[in-house]
């Protein structure tokens, strides 16, 4: 029995009650701030903030898994490539013979990684704490066309749906004598024949759903729709949203001013102009 198709499970946290648009604003504001700031310190600070928010939202464990699972390999890779071979490198801090690590490249890599993590982490938190239906309802309320809304909803649902289907097909294969447990080779061999029907049936599913929607009047133009899911913006959502935008504007102004040489920033590690 399939209950919730998207990856959302209600945990009753404040972040869950936040207006979906505020959360979208948060993802953009935090991510762009980390990107605009001349060095990696702001990004690193924001990652820490996101970790705290994740723990407050009872998502600390999976969040850390994501951050470390993605962050560590990417950081190692980027530190090696940028640190060893970036054209910005002037100050050499280590020499391993075949590669010489430059401070500038390492700093650039650190900024890339923290910015990526801020985007990824905030998007993950938004996704995990927002019921997809509510997100789409909020988007259509602010004027996004319902067709685009459906597109977002459908793409958010496609992965969990495929996972469900995969599980059922695997059961059916087991029932016909194909072992999908076993070692890596057995698993791979079992996966190949599954892919065909999974992809094909998702396509026919999408087509059928499209036809169903049409027969229920989804394509009617020029009508103001009533929404089954109502999203109300509270004062707190507005305040948080404005705060985030202000933060972004402040970061942007400071960064531009630093860039033009108007002000020196107090703690600046290896920012490059």
């Amino acid at each position: 029995m399939a209950h919730a198709l998207n990856s959302f499970h209600s945990l009753g946290t404040p972040l869950e009650r936040m207006h979906p648009i505020t959360k979208i604003v948060a993802v953009l504001a935090l991510g762009l701030s980390a990107l605009l700031w001349p060095d990696f310190t702001l990004g690193a600070a924001l990652v820490l903030v996101l970790v705290v928010v994740a723990f407050l939202s009872k998502l600390g464990h999976p969040f850390m898994k994501l951050i470390l699972g993605f962050g560590v390999p990417v950081a190692v890779m980027l530190l090696f490539i940028q640190g060893g071979y970036s054209s910005r490198n002037v100050t050499i801090i280590a020499d391993w013979g075949f590669v010489r690590f430059g401070l500038e490249g390492i700093e650039h890599a650190a900024k890339l990684v923290t910015t990526l993590l801020v985007f990824l982490g905030s998007f993950y938190l938004m996704n995990k704490t927002t019921y997809a239906g509510r997100l789409v309802a909020a988007l259509t309320q602010v004027g996004v066309s319902s067709k685009i809304g459906y597109l977002i909803l459908a793409s958010l649902n496609v992965v969990p749906q495929m996972q469900l289907r995969l599980a059922v097909i695997q059961q059916a294969q087991n029932a016909r004598g194909l072992d999908t447990q076993g070692g890596l080779v057995a698993r791979l061999k079992a996966y190949i024949p599954i892919l065909g029907p999974v992809v094909l049936s998702s396509l026919t599913d999408a087509q059928e759903r499209g036809m169903t929607l049409e027969t229920r009047g989804f394509g009617i133009d020029g009508v103001r729709r009533t929404s089954y899911v109502q999203v109300h913006a509270r004062r707190a959502d507005f305040v948080v949203g404005c705060g985030l935008l202000l933060f972004l504007i402040m970061v942007a102004v400071l960064s531009v001013m630093w860039h033009c040489g108007i002000i020196p920033l107090p703690v600046l590690i290896g920012g490059s102009r």
């Binding site: 087991n174 029932a175 999908t180 065909g196 049936s201």
Partner: protein, 272 residues
């Protein structure tokens, strides 16, 4: 001797829903058995234990005396055949022929044996002239028979059908009846979940009624359908002709027009 036995079988889904609440059931021999009951009664959950697709949360399932937990589902496939409700979940190869040959090939059977079975079984399920068609180009009915054929090709001693009559036309139902009779003749145990009471009363002597994760009644078809209060509790409606017979005050439980007419005649004679 073929047998399926469950002892205090309990199953709880990940969501916490307790789908089976201590089922004790013993199915033996080659008399086909029907499992009926309302949606959500636990029918599919129960039969998915017979080849280990689901594993008991507590209690035991014994297949021919062997605990189901001792083997993987793939290893049970040759003993217990399972035909899923939705054929789209089961067909994954390019031709009907490959679908039918898949199971026996997995079991490592001889090519000659497979060819022989293919001829017999493709005829039985009515797909002998569609062997080179892609399963996705079959009609819904044919797809269902393709999945049935794919399972029968492994010649399992126990065959489970989950809702085989769903979406079938008259010809399909007739073919199914033929298949169920053939299985009994070949000394195999056929267990079928169905909502179609006409189909059940026509083809099965033994009926198991499930309700809310328990077996409510288990017995001869006449006996089960002569207990209106039990049927009402399990939300199962007997076939219309049975209701007519009961409303007319017949002592026997009837399932066919001929049966009704005979019973009426007999009752009249006894009254004279």
């Amino acid at each position: 001797m073929l047998s399926v036995e469950t002892r205090n079988l309990e199953y709880r889904y990940g969501s916490g829903h307790r789908a089976l609440k201590g089922v004790n059931l013993s199915l033996q021999g080659n008399d086909p058995v029907a499992i009926i009951g309302q949606n959500g009664a636990g029918k599919t959950t129960l039969v998915k234990h017979f080849n280990g697709i689901l594993r008991p949360t507590s209690g035991n399932v014994l297949i021919n005396g062997v605990d189901v937990n001792e083997r993987s589902t793939a290893r049970w496939a040759g003993t217990v055949g399972y035909v899923f409700q939705n054929p789209d979940d089961q067909l994954f190869l390019e031709t009907v022929r490959k679908e039918l040959e898949f199971g026996p090939l997995q079991m490592g059977l001889d090519e000659r044996v497979i060819a022989d079975r293919l001829e017999r079984i493709s005829g039985l399920v009515g797909l002998d002239d569609k062997l080179d068609v892609h399963p996705f180009d079959l009609t819904a009915t044919e797809k269902k028979f393709c999945t049935i054929g794919a399972v029968l090709m492994m010649e399992p001693g126990i065959v489970v059908f989950d809702e085989p009559t769903c979406g079938q036309d008259m010809a399909g139902n007739r073919r199914l009846e033929q298949i169920i009779k053939t299985l009994a003749r070949q000394n195999r145990l056929c267990i079928t979940i169905s909502h179609d009471m006409k189909f059940v009363t026509r083809n099965f002597r033994r009926v198991v009624v499930m309700n809310q994760g328990n077996v409510l009644v288990d017995g001869d078809v006449d006996e089960v359908f002569s207990q209106p209060d039990v049927l009402r509790r399990s939300f199962v409606a007997p076939p219309p002709i049975t209701k007519v017979g009961r409303a007319a005050g017949l002592k026997e439980t009837v399932f066919t027009v001929e049966g009704l007419m005979d019973a009426v005649k007999r009752q009249k004679e006894s009254e004279v």
